[in-house]
């Protein structure tokens, strides 16, 4: 039991931060909720599937469940979470380097906003590719779709983001000039 918990701890330490990041990007920047859902995914793994999954499968299982939890959240009214996130943001201690912190936050916000314009399946596929380095086959396993759909989704997501990015750059250039 102890060694099982040790293994679980190792898995948790390896993947909890990246699962939080994945969920945060998927949910449009709601960090506390993302951490909550990541915790919930690990809890479900610990309670039910841990020990029954083949080696190396736990990671994909986690992403699959985390995505499902996120989809459930999309379907619910999310007003109170947004309110909570704002309260948390307001209560955060002041940054040590406010200028740098501001720039980081701006860039982060821009990426989140652009990602949020994509359909959920394209966003998930792109995040799993760019952040988690999963292959098309592995992404297909997580999302329960074919490899060719993953390929098309990722391409469409990139093309859409590229277009928005260049439009944004043009608008920024025009307003500066």
């Amino acid at each position: 039991m102890a060694s099982e918990d040790d293994e679980f701890t190792m898995l948790f330490q390896d993947f909890y931060p990246s699962l939080c990041r994945f969920l945060e990007c998927l949910l449009g920047g709601r960090a506390p909720l993302a951490q909550d859902l990541a915790q919930e995914s690990f809890l479900q793994l610990h309670r039910t599937a841990w020990g029954t999954l083949p080696p190396g499968e736990a990671r994909f299982w986690l992403y699959r469940v985390a995505r499902n939890l996120a989809i459930n959240e999309f379907r619910k009214s999310n007003t109170r979470y947004r309110l909570f996130d704002r309260v948390v943001e307001a209560l955060r201690p002041a940054a040590r380097n406010p200028e740098q912190e501001y720039e980081t936050r701006e860039r982060k916000q821009l990426v989140l906003e652009m990602l949020h314009t994509l359909p959920e399946d394209q966003r998930t596929a792109l995040l799993l590719r760019e952040q988690e380095q999963l292959s098309y086959r592995e992404i297909g396993d997580v999302m329960n779709v074919s490899e060719s759909k993953v390929k098309v989704d990722i391409f469409r997501a990139r093309a859409a983001l590229r277009e928005r990015w260049s439009k944004r750059a043009k608008t920024a250039g025009a307003s500066a000039g």
């Binding site: 931060p17 909550d36 919930e40 029954t52 299982w61 995505r67 459930n72 955060r92 590719r129 760019e130």
Partner: protein, 301 residues
């Protein structure tokens, strides 16, 4: 995006094309300005998305882990069995039917009241279970289990400085000629990082059990042989410029490139797997991504 190759560029940068096709697309990119721009834009998007910080506060992670491990004992999937006898099922069925009949009778005169109640009911409590259809695909063998304790949101701690800040600023006291030389070296380093990243991704996706595996590995080996010399030159240049950060990245990349370059004609599956594991463990691909983007941005500025 009018060129017919643009869709393939997406697969190319993911290392998901077969060797021959990858070579064809790479050759095309060299001659097509539009595709070259698309590739640069896709790689830039990648660095923006991959550069998104992960949670770095171990206190928050440890608190979450402790909470999970101290939750009630897990319910083994195989150990959960419905041990109902026939009379119990009959009794339960009767109860359900009775409840439905009672509900229908009670419901009829109070339709308006019920509508109001539905409208006034607060947001439903968050359900930890995935939706039915999603749940089916995610955990097909899972059975109903007790709902976990209500979630407590975790307050995020401030994060330390971003990874982009790792790129050293140019020395304002250096001469213009020195600055140009340094910019050249940085441009070469960006290109080198991007090429190495593509190689490592492609190497990770080589399928060992296919008939074309040998040919694919031979191609990656050749690319690694080309890159390893470039890596040595750039590492020495970074050392000479006193750029410890770049030198250390190039230093950790070098043994991996060497290992791939030195693979035999008929590579052993274990050897390839060992190199892949090392790449994963060192986290070298995201490191290359982030730093090439940061360098490119610094050059733009």
């Amino acid at each position: 995006m009018s060129c017919s190759f643009t869709e393939k560029i997406s697969s190319l940068i993911d290392g998901e094309l077969a060797t021959a096709e990858a070579r064809e697309v790479e050759r095309h990119v060299l001659t097509c300005a539009e595709c070259e721009q698309v590739r640069a834009d896709f790689l830039n998007l990648r660095s923006q998305i991959a550069g998104f910080e992960t949670l770095k506060n171990p206190v928050v992670s440890n608190r979450a882990l402790k909470k999970i491990l101290t939750q009630e004992d897990r319910v083994p999937v195989s150990g959960m069995r419905w041990g109902w006898s026939t009379p119990a099922i009959a009794f339960a069925t009767l109860l359900v039917i009775g409840a439905i009949i009672g509900f229908v009778f009670y419901q009829t005169p109070n339709t308006d009241q019920q509508t109001v109640a539905v409208v006034e009911s607060p947001t439903p409590a968050p359900s930890p279970e995935p939706t039915k259809e999603e749940e089916k695909s995610a955990t097909p063998k899972e059975e109903k289990r007790p709902a976990p304790a209500p979630r407590k949101p975790i307050v995020r701690e401030p994060k330390p400085g971003e990874q982009f800040a790792l790129v050293s600023e140019p020395d304002p006291t250096s001469s213009p000629a020195e600055r140009v030389r340094s910019a050249d070296a940085e441009t070469l380093t960006v290109i080198h990082f991007e090429k190495s990243e593509t190689l490592l991704r492609a190497f990770r996706n080589v399928r060992l059990n296919t008939s074309s595996a040998r040919e694919e590995v031979a191609y990656e080996r050749k690319r690694a042989q080309q890159l390893v010399y470039q890596n040595m030159i750039l590492r020495r240049a970074a050392d000479a410029n006193g750029d410890v950060h770049l030198a250390s990245i190039l230093e950790s990349l070098e043994p991996i490139l060497l290992d791939i370059a030195n693979l035999p004609d008929k590579p052993d599956g274990d050897k390839v797997r060992t190199i892949r594991e090392r790449v994963e463990r060192k986290n070298i691909v995201p490191l290359l991504q982030i730093n090439s983007a940061a360098l490119a941005r610094a050059l733009d500025d």
